[in-house]
């Protein structure tokens, strides 16, 4: 009935069927046999860092207040006087939505109400309902959400690290904005962002679960048709124009520190890197997950020594975060002795850059990764996250697994050499006392 591009992973026992509807919306159905839960996700390639663009209705370039993509997420999940979370919940279905730097996703999870949930999700996204009153009401709720993050030391230390690394890039701004910036949001601005970024070509629909593929796609298409008069009539597609400058590696400030009423201080080291795209992003992610195990996990001498000294009780995390718009490595940890740990980490990174790779260890990590890949197949959330990443970075869905298997010692070596103190910023949250 539909033409599918089929992508498959033997390791995960998982197949994803991809088809593009006549209006340009691409649908992904990831089949997970035997699972009861079914998930549906409707998303757009629009997030907090896209705040400078051409308004699709007027053709004029505009800059919008910080936090508007997240605000739009809240408001779109509401219909006349009724919250969408509530509408799903009345059907016994759980739902939620989230906004990231570069995408926004609305989703449901259900066992018995799959078809009705698709109907509801499409309706919500295709029928925006913003009023002066409901925008004002949301400013109070989001204000409390922002205050909650302000008291969360993990959140503060992380966003401060981004602010220290980036000079102007919008990754510096809080995804939810601030109480001040969201006070400038009104219903017209919300409609502008909606019309510009919630077009079928900029969106994706993902289903994960043990479902009938044809029936699922048909149901989605039938629903979309209800809201698009010109469905399938080959209207000209307006191109989205957004302005987002990729930054050079120079950092904004070397160190940033904040005192909070907490017990355990936290630290983040951020290494700013040159931006790469497509499979290179996946390669860097795979390399960093190997580095994390090889040099920071509980089997390392580093962990053992820091643990014995009472510096840490959990491994320091070492993560790659990258997209076509930014690229960096973040190390983070909680510790009683934040300055000592900082010194130890910096020394340690110098050391591992200059020592040979332990081949036995490298092989051991690869063995562990094989097991982890299989275990990850039991988690439906990992399935949809992989699809979203493939959409955003324009790669095949299961490329990450092949890439992880292909990582060599040389890759590790070369990547470690990218960690340059000159392009590194430090964020610390201390305890007030």
């Amino acid at each position: 009935m539909y033409d599918y591009q089929i992508q498959k992973s033997e390791e995960l026992g998982e197949t994803t069927y991809i088809t593009t509807l006549k209006n340009g919306l691409t649908v992904y159905v990831c089949k997970k046999e035997g699972y009861k839960k079914k998930m549906g996700l409707f998303g757009t390639k629009y997030g907090s860092i896209i705040n400078d663009f051409v308004d699709i209705s007027t053709g004029k370039r505009i800059q919008v207040p910080d936090g508007i993509a997240h605000f739009l997420e809240h408001k779109l999940f509401e219909k006349e006087g009724e919250n969408a979370l509530d509408m799903f919940s009345k059907m016994g279905v759980s739902s939620n939505a989230y906004t990231t730097f570069d995408h926004t996703v609305y989703f449901f999870e259900t066992i018995e109400k799959f078809e009705e949930s698709i109907d509801m999700l499409v309706k919500l996204i295709k029928e925006p309902y913003f009023t002066k009153e409901n925008v004002e009401k949301e400013q109070g709720i989001i204000g409390q959400e922002i205050s909650m993050y302000d008291d969360d030391p993990g959140f503060v230390v992380y966003f401060n690290a981004l602010r220290a690394m980036y000079k102007k890039h919008p990754i510096r701004i809080d995804i939810a904005g601030t109480i001040e910036t969201i006070s400038h949001i009104d219903k017209d601005l919300l409609y502008t962002c909606y019309h510009t970024f919630y077009s079928p070509q900029n969106m994706f629909f993902i289903v994960v679960g043990d479902v009938d593929v044809d029936e699922t796609v048909k149901r989605i298409e039938q629903n979309i048709c209800k809201y698009e008069e010109n469905y399938g009539k080959n209207e000209t597609i307006s191109k989205i124009e957004k302005f987002l400058e990729i930054e050079d590696r120079e950092i904004a400030q070397k160190e940033i520190s904040k005192a909070m009423d907490i017990y355990m201080p936290q630290i983040c080291l951020g290494y700013k890197l040159d931006v790469v795209t497509k499979q290179e992003i996946l390669r860097r992610e795979a390399i960093c997950s190997m580095i994390s195990d090889m040099y920071f996990s509980k089997l390392t001498k580093f962990y053992e020594e820091e643990y014995e000294k009472g510096m840490i009780t959990e491994p320091v995390s070492f993560d790659y975060e990258g997209s076509q718009y930014f690229s960096h490595v973040i190390l983070s940890s909680v510790t009683k002795k934040v300055n000592e740990l900082k010194d130890d980490l910096l020394k340690y990174i110098h050391k591992i850059k200059n020592e040979p790779i332990d081949s036995t260890l490298f092989e051991l990590i690869k063995k562990k990764k094989l097991g982890s890949i299989v275990m990850s197949a039991e988690n439906l959330n990992i399935s949809y996250r992989r699809i979203i990443e493939a959409i955003l970075e324009n790669v095949d869905i299961y490329d990450d697994i092949a890439i992880l298997k292909s990582i060599t010692e040389k890759d590790i070596r070369e990547f470690l050499n990218l960690l340059d103190d000159h392009y590194m910023a430090i964020s610390i949250v201390t305890n007030k006392q």
């Binding site: 035997g34 509530d86 919940s89 205050s147 009423d261 355990m264 509980k298 097991g371 299989v374």
Partner: protein, 420 residues
């Protein structure tokens, strides 16, 4: 005899195996258990350091191992758990199960000892780890508030003691005393195994466990012998307010209630009650406190499976304290009077049923359900399907009846020192 609960579903690709030491505790034992759990997971005779334990597990294709501590009501559980990949999904169909069972046995029954007791260096090191965990709690304001409320509601019960114990008691524990405690735990607990996941082609796994562990399991407590009667509660019939100052942007309001004259059969109706009150976005709290009045982003109520208490928590601005408190108490009063719409009632039941059905997709949830049903219902016969049936059978009258058993006793505000 080996006490084991087993779940087999071939859609999974791995196997979860856990060995639970469940026991009642007093104040001292509570702290000792926390330290013991921390020490045992870090070393055993054959693998005397964390690094060696981890290396061994990495070689078993990333077998996951943890010592987890938890409270099941007033009972303490020290759980040794592993998760490993099914042989069908490993290169050359390698089977790691024998090695995993042997490893689990080693970490439990062959600990790393120096002069017949635990190594004092490790004990002292782990004391610091535990003490940090206790202090660190305040860094998560919402969780901290809920935990303080648990303590306020159950001051004289094991449930109300901090899972990680008390600083003074922990500091005083010697390696000798800890080893003594170790012997008490392995000889005096109810030992329960959970085995769940894809057990196809692993028909002999239970026998292997029996052969390995049974010699160690004589004369142990039985789960049904340990089921406690909850302390007779004296109803306070008044609300006490407490406040703790922290320098924060947001304040956390929590409200604690106890269930008067709780009966096992109230369990399902109380779950429906809790869901209507503050369990979902359709709930009275979400609708009124968040959606109508914009007072909060987070507002929820939680009913405790093993304790007849209920806690409501919400992140608010301090200046809205009285308003939010009154609004929440009003919702509870409303439910006592039976002001519950048909849609509130039916959607709460549907949500609960959906949550239960979802356990089918988690091998760990399925296994844990069997264990907790023994404790909560004093029966190991209760299946997931029966639980779902019982939820469906709850009537509006049942909900109103239990609503009138819910008595608010404490209000706790964790807040900034500004504005008030």
């Amino acid at each position: 005899m080996l006490n084991i609960y087993k779940i087999n579903d071939s859609k999974f690709k791995s196997i979860y195996l856990s060995c639970n030491f469940i026991m009642p505790v007093n104040r001292n034992q509570n702290s000792e258990n926390a330290l013991l759990g921390s020490v045992l997971g870090k070393a055993c005779k054959q693998y005397p350091t964390q690094a060696e334990i981890e290396k061994y597990l990495y070689g078993l294709y990333g077998t996951d191992f943890n010592v987890n501590i938890e409270k099941l009501g007033d009972l303490y559980n020290i759980e040794f758990k592993v998760q490993f990949v099914h042989k069908d999904f490993l290169p050359d169909k390698q089977d790691v199960s024998d090695k995993v069972i042997e490893f689990l046995y080693q970490v439990i029954y062959d600990p790393y000892l120096v002069n017949g007791v635990f190594d004092s260096t490790i004990v002292e090191r782990e004391k610091k780890v535990i003490l940090n965990k206790i202090m660190e709690r305040k860094d998560d304001k919402l969780r901290y508030s809920v935990q303080r409320m648990e303590q306020l509601l159950c001051p004289n019960e094991a449930f109300g003691m901090d899972l990680y114990g008390e600083e003074e008691i922990i500091n005083a524990i010697t390696p000798e005393r800890l080893y003594q405690r170790y012997l008490e735990v392995i000889q005096g607990s109810c030992v329960t195994f959970l085995l769940s996941g894809n057990l196809e082609k692993y028909e002999d796994l239970e026998d292997k466990l029996k052969k390995k562990f049974e010699p160690k399991l004589e004369n142990h407590l039985k789960l049904d012998e340990m089921i406690y009667d909850d302390v007779k509660r004296e109803m306070k019939n008044k609300i006490e307010e407490e406040k703790e100052i922290q320098d924060t942007v947001q304040s956390v309001l929590s409200i604690g209630a106890v269930i008067e004259n709780y009966q096992v059969q109230d369990y399902y109706a109380l779950n429906v009650y809790n869901t209507i009150l503050g369990g979902t976005p359709s709930s009275k709290l979400f609708q009124n406190v968040r959606e109508k009045e914009s007072l909060a982003y987070t507002v929820r109520s939680r009913y405790y499976r093993f304790k007849p208490i209920l806690i409501i928590f919400s992140g608010i601005m301090q200046e809205n304290y009285e308003k939010a408190k009154d609004l929440i108490l009003e919702q509870m009063q409303d439910m006592k009077k039976g002001n519950i719409s048909h849609i509130e009632f039916s959607s709460a039941k549907e949500s609960l049923v959906a949550d239960l059905l979802e356990w089918n997709d988690s091998k760990i949830a399925l296994a844990k359900m069997q264990l907790s049903n023994v404790l909560a219902f004093q029966s190991e016969e209760v299946t997931l399907d029966q639980m779902i049936e019982q939820i469906k059978k709850v009537t509006l009258e049942d909900v109103i009846r239990v609503a009138n058993k819910v008595q608010v006793e404490k209000v706790f505000l964790l807040g900034g020192n500004e504005n008030v």
